[in-house]
Amino acid sequence: MRVPWFSKGFTRSISCPILDDQVEDGQEIARTKSPPPFYNAFEFISSMSSGFDLSNLFENKRKSGSLFTSKCSGSTIMATLETVAKTFNFRVVWSKGYKLKMEGESEGRKGKLAVTAEVYEVAPEVAVVEFSKAAGDTLEYKKFCEEDARPALKDIVWSWQGENNCQS
């Protein structure tokens, strides 16, 4: 539910490119009644801060993030995730509220790859989406995140975990 004070004097620099009202989703009604679960300041800071991430001391490549922020609504994000799943021949095993699980069709090195995605919100303008591997090979999971999911989600992604362009 949008609160008037939040929109006052606030200019969005970039809005969600996918218009929220174009999204058709069976759970739309349920989702508009309640927002995604709250992602608090500490969770937000510790997930998104690259300054706190010491793994760069040891790794040359930037490690692939499994978390991103988005300016789109929770419903839009969920619908987009479901579409992406279908694009890569992943079956949506279940989708409830702001959480879904998708499973790949082909058998990988350790069985079918299964991925869960959960949407949270820090504020109505800032959603956080967390991927995690539910089953299957870790390398295949990382490859899926980096090579498949990432480019497919670029329209709704604002910034990925570990990639910051600004000085703070």
Binding site: K8, F10, T11, A41, S50, L54, A123, N165
Partner: protein, 216 residues
Amino acid sequence: MGCFMSVPKKPSHGRNGYENPVVLASQTAFTVSEVEALFELYKSISSSVIDDGLINKEEFQLAIFENKKRDNLFANRIFDLFDVKRKGVIDFGDFVRSLNVFHPNASREDKINFTFSLYDMDGTGYIERQEVKQMVIAILLESETNLADEVIERILDQTFLEVDVKRDGIIDREEWLSYVTKNPSLLDIMTLPYLREITMTFPSFVFNSEVDEISK
């Protein structure tokens, strides 16, 4: 503190004596080989700007941000905690003992205490609302997001509702311990699995260590 290495033919030292790896290994979860591997890492970081055997703030930033110097609030906070003696530089002993907290085998309690100190930016022993606000603003800036002040205040309100159970407007160690215990993902930043493979990442070419490798 610090004594010269007692083993001959070691790589050249800085003007300060480095602490003996055997001593450091005995104080931490690292083996002597691992401490020697950390020394290789330490050498490359500490010589990147000024070759004085110490890590200054700029060298630390370069190491964290893949050779881009960035005056980042969070990296500066970690630097300050690693700079145990408050000298403005991190020496090798500080480096090893601080990284020890990030070892997979380090105690949960140590990790929780470290995160508390991270967020308690002015070191008062309490995490104050203003400190959290500063960090939230910094994170938003990093991802080029602008939020109205009222929105940020609301984030803080809801966060404190969850964590500040005593409702006194500040978060003390007890509240933090209780909260993190229920939400262990907040400790994810406190474990570096790479520390288990450090001897493979940074092989130490010291052949004449007089200490036999005894498994810890």
